[in-house]
């Protein structure tokens, strides 16, 4: 019997773990960054939809760990390892971090795409997880789908077509 590919939807400031033959999917990434961390031989993967670069930016006591690059990546790793993933086998693919609107104002919040990408790369580096592929920056929205079976990340855009990394 063929297993059915389930699409696991990851919302904004959300995070999900899945195994083969499922597909992890998040839609409409703008300045947000989609981070996939996976253990390919074990067919185990997690995806986070990161919204802001740094958990110290928060202004409230309650912290949604899935919203920030630093805490979301830590959480992804913890969850994957709790499910049996091997730390040394973990690899990452990232996409997103666009600048959707060009503004002359130098407001920091308007550069959040670039800052998200920097923060994600730094955190992954600190955690010794190699980034095997990335498609970041630009000024277009992206929808991404990660096939846990093949380890490929499919990226769909409105104006720039589709690609696979």
């Amino acid at each position: 019997m063929n297993a059915v590919n389930q699409v696991v939807k990851v919302g904004i400031a959300d995070l999900k773990i899945a195994t083969t033959p499922d597909i992890l999917r998040t839609t409409g990434l703008g300045s947000c960054v989609g981070v996939v961390i996976y253990d390919l031989p074990l067919k185990l993967a997690g995806m986070a939809h990161v919204m802001l670069p740094d958990s110290t930016l928060t202004r409230t006591g309650e912290l949604n760990k899935m919203k920030y690059a630093d805490t979301a990546i830590d959480m992804l790793m913890e969850k994957l390892i709790a499910q049996g993933a091997r730390k040394f086998a973990l690899k990452a693919k990232i996409a997103g971090g666009a600048q959707m609107f060009s503004f002359s104002t130098s407001s920091d919040m308007m550069r959040v795409g670039t800052r998200n990408v920097e923060a994600v790369i730094t955190r992954l580096k600190d955690s010794r997880i190699p980034i095997v592929a990335q498609e970041v920056g630009g000024n277009n929205g992206r929808t991404i789908e990660f096939s846990i079976d093949t380890g490929k990340l499919k990226i769909r855009t409105v104006n720039m077509g589709e690609s696979e990394i």
Binding site: I12, T27, G28, M51, T60, M100, S104, T143
Partner: protein, 211 residues
Amino acid sequence: MSFIENLSNYQLDTLKEIGNIGAGNAATALSKLLDRKIDMKTPSVRITSFDETMEMVGGAETVIVSVFLRIEGEAPGSMFYVFSPEQAEQFVHQITGNEEFSFANPPYPEMGLSILHEIGNILAGSYLTALSDFTLINMQPSVPSLTMDMAGAIISEGLMELSRESDYAIIIDTTIQEPGADKQNIQGHFFLLPDPESFEKIFAALGVDGQ
């Protein structure tokens, strides 16, 4: 707990009134611009999760055309004027009388984009002027920016500032449209998303008590 969950009905009504005044003025401006009748729907104030926010325009992957501007000044916030690509084409067709402009294939003609930009500018400007006159709060809109892309990618841009404080957004949503239900009719959404610290200023300016 964020203040967003603690708004009173009276405060929500005040926010609706803001949508009413702003969009009313914008509808008048659009009506003059196109020389035709433009109706306005009763504004709604919604408190939504980020994902629900995208559902308001048909889901994160829906392609929309949007004019976005940041409001600077005493009560900062973000403002969107959102319409579908078909409606954007309608706008350009009606104003230029040229039926050839289309969002089907990039690159899009400069003239069409420029017209949409200007429409967004006029409508958002009249919305904010009314709001500013009503509240006597100084609001300076940034130069608007026009883009066509996935709703999720566009709208999330306006959620950045408030996402530092909350996982919910307060959106003042007003629709202006031509009378009738024809798809060819002009229709568009205004979304006003005040930054969290702006609510207190808006309420204070209008004499609505805080908590």
